[in-house]
């Protein structure tokens, strides 16, 4: 496990970005260690909080130093009490930050073409990744999708930072009407991509993995499982993933992920909004057993 810090950060900027809030936090030490695909876990609710668990957010970008010390940016969708609290914060409010956490996107050793696929706020970590890939000489295209225009994040940034951008929305309010999966195959073929990076809802990541596979690319996906601790100690964030040895284990997505090779994830076990333990998982419950 790589370096991590825990620090009382300070919110220094907060602004709306479509349906989301874009937050910049001073969090000395995090930026220096972070790599694209990693995330931070933020405490929510302040000293009298009834919401004990941290909330996890992909790192959108970092600045290792600046006027205030290193900063970290995250993009937050207000949803339940924790994200609502975060998006209601005002500049100078303190925020306890733990990070960077998890494994980053692996970068290809060779300058292969790459496609980066983001669903909703799932695009947040991809711009930084795009930069790192282009520094290595990779041709980078992005595919951004969302339910509607306000739920797309970073289209302008994408146009600036990628070699090509495709946009889809479910309702056709921006880009092509449909899903990212409707355009992805074509982009992979056209660019001859060797790697497809994905971040977004599970159903999208599954589709990304399948399409990448069918079109001869490797999928690297950043998953989003419900997490209680973010640091590897609670075992709530597990999912069935097949290892190099061919054995499926329930692995912690916070420390062994959030980035997994798409073809290693046992997508077949997800359904009805739950994830079942595949019968061939190491130590799976036996009939009549636990």
């Amino acid at each position: 496990m790589s370096g991590v810090v825990q620090v009382t950060g300070e919110l220094i900027a907060t602004r709306r970005a479509g349906a989301y809030h874009h937050l910049t936090l001073v969090a000395p030490g995090v930026a220096e260690l972070a790599r694209p695909g990693q995330f931070v876990a933020l405490a929510v609710g302040g000293p009298t909080s009834a919401t004990l668990l941290r909330r996890c957010f992909s790192i959108h970008k970092v600045k290792p130093s600046g006027t205030y010390g290193g900063t970290v940016d995250v993009v937050v969708a207000a949803h339940g009490p924790g994200t609502t609290w975060l998006t209601g914060l005002r500049v100078h409010d303190p925020v306890d930050v733990v990070g960077p956490l998890g494994r980053p996107f692996p970068l290809p050793a060779e300058p292969v073409p790459c496609v980066l696929v983001g669903g909703g706020y799932g695009s947040a970590p991809l711009f930084w990744l795009a930069e790192a890939l282009r520094e290595r000489g990779c041709h980078v295209e992005m595919v951004l999708g969302a339910a509607s225009e306000d739920r797309l994040f970073g289209v302008v940034e994408a146009r600036r930072g990628a070699d090509g951008v495709s946009v889809t929305t479910d309702d056709g309010s921006a880009g092509r009407r449909g899903w990212v999966s409707d355009v992805l195959g074509e982009v992979v073929d056209r660019t001859g991509a060797g790697v497809v990076y994905g971040c977004g809802p599970m159903a999208m990541l599954r589709a990304v993995t399948e399409i990448a596979g069918r079109h001869g690319a490797v999928a690297q996906v950043a998953v989003e499982e419900s997490m209680a601790c973010g640091v590897g100690v609670c075992m709530t964030c597990v999912m069935p993933v097949t290892g190099n040895d061919g054995v499926t284990r329930m692995v912690r997505s916070c420390v062994e992920g959030p980035v997994f090779r798409g073809d290693r994830v046992r997508w077949d076990s997800f359904g009805d909004g739950i994830c079942r333990v595949p019968a061939d998982t190491l130590g799976a419950p036996r009939a009549g057993g636990h």
Partner: protein, 319 residues
């Protein structure tokens, strides 16, 4: 200078603060935030005989000042545990309290035996017997809900471990009479008790209108349950002070977040305290509680932690 040491039967620990089983994995993760040997003891995730995948997900739900979990005792099995996890803990110099379980009394004994035989057993300062887990032989009823099953498990484990290794039976609060279960465990040979495990709880997802956990029910933990932990410790300590129960060390757990919270459990009767769910809020919490509890002892003018244990029984005013 305050003497923060505490004793669990034959074992003396430099301070009374521990992790709680299942809330700290097996050490390496928290070691990134503080050196785990600085805790009085490190309590490992409950381990069983064979590897276990645990349950499907969702495995957790946040609740008001707490959470539900339904992990299903995921773990590597005792052999992999002693080889990797215990060996690592030994290598950094941690004092380890190993939490064990089984779905039959015999499995508990088997795990204890393999643990005692392992090369890293020297790091083990005690064994916590997690009897708050389902007994397959008794319709899945939790061992700790029944004095007879509790007795059986503790006897077998006691039998398979050296007498110099203290064993603590970990009790569930979900019983009508916790003093009765405590008595069964102590008479069966437990050197002490850990109280409390989680309360059985449930959350309904109000969007999907169905149980939020894949496992339907789960264990409730966190500050929300601290008053139940304090009460359980109080009742059992009172029974010991009255002579209704043999005197034995109690390890308190349930909702501890700060040194003050720990002090509550200590004043009620705990001679050591575990920090569980609060670790998810702040991975440095167990370590911080060491200092905060010491500061509380100082604030109250004591020089020995041991003098604060159970003090609320003496300071109580009769109404």
């Amino acid at each position: 200078m305050v003497d923060m040491s505490t004793t669990l039967g034959p074992v003396t620990l430099p301070n009374p603060v521990m992790t709680a089983s299942g809330c700290a994995a097996n050490g390496q993760e928290l070691h990134r935030f503080f050196p785990v040997p600085e805790l009085g003891a490190f309590v490992t995730k409950t381990v069983m005989a064979a590897p276990r995948s645990g349950r499907g997900t969702p495995r957790m739900a946040e609740t008001a000042s707490g959470m539900l979990n339904s992990i299903g005792l995921q773990g590597p099995g005792i052999d992999a545990f002693v080889e990797k996890d215990l060996a690592w803990l030994a290598s950094v110099g941690a004092r380890v309290l190993v939490s064990i379980a089984g779905t039959t009394a015999e499995e508990f004994g088997d795990v204890a035996e393999r643990l005692a035989a392992s090369p890293a057993f020297g790091a083990v300062v005690g064994v916590e017997v997690n009897i708050s887990c389902p007994n397959v032989a008794n319709r899945g009823l939790v061992f700790a809900c029944d004095p007879v099953s509790s007795d059986l498990v503790v006897r077998i484990v006691r039998d398979r471990l050296p007498s110099t290794t203290p064993i603590l039976a970990k009790l569930t609060p979900d019983v009508t009479d916790i003093v009765g279960i405590a008595e069964a465990a102590l008479l069966a040979g437990a050197d002490g008790l850990t109280m409390i495990n989680t309360l059985l709880g449930m959350v309904i997802d109000t969007d999907l209108l169905r149980p939020q956990l894949a496992g339907v029910t789960g264990g409730l933990s966190g500050p929300a349950i601290r008053p139940v932990a304090v009460r359980a410790l109080w009742q059992v300590t009172a029974a010991m002070r009255d002579g209704r129960l043999p005197t034995a060390p109690l390890v308190g757990v349930g909702g501890v977040r700060t040194g003050r919270d720990a002090l509550e459990l200590v004043a009620a009767g705990a001679c050591a305290v575990q920090v569980g769910t609060a670790t998810f809020n702040d991975p440095s919490r167990p370590r911080r509680v060491v200092d905060e509890l010491e500061a509380e002892v100082v604030r109250h003018g004591f020089t020995r932690f041991a003098d604060v244990v159970g003090i609320a029984h003496e300071r109580m005013v009769r109404p």
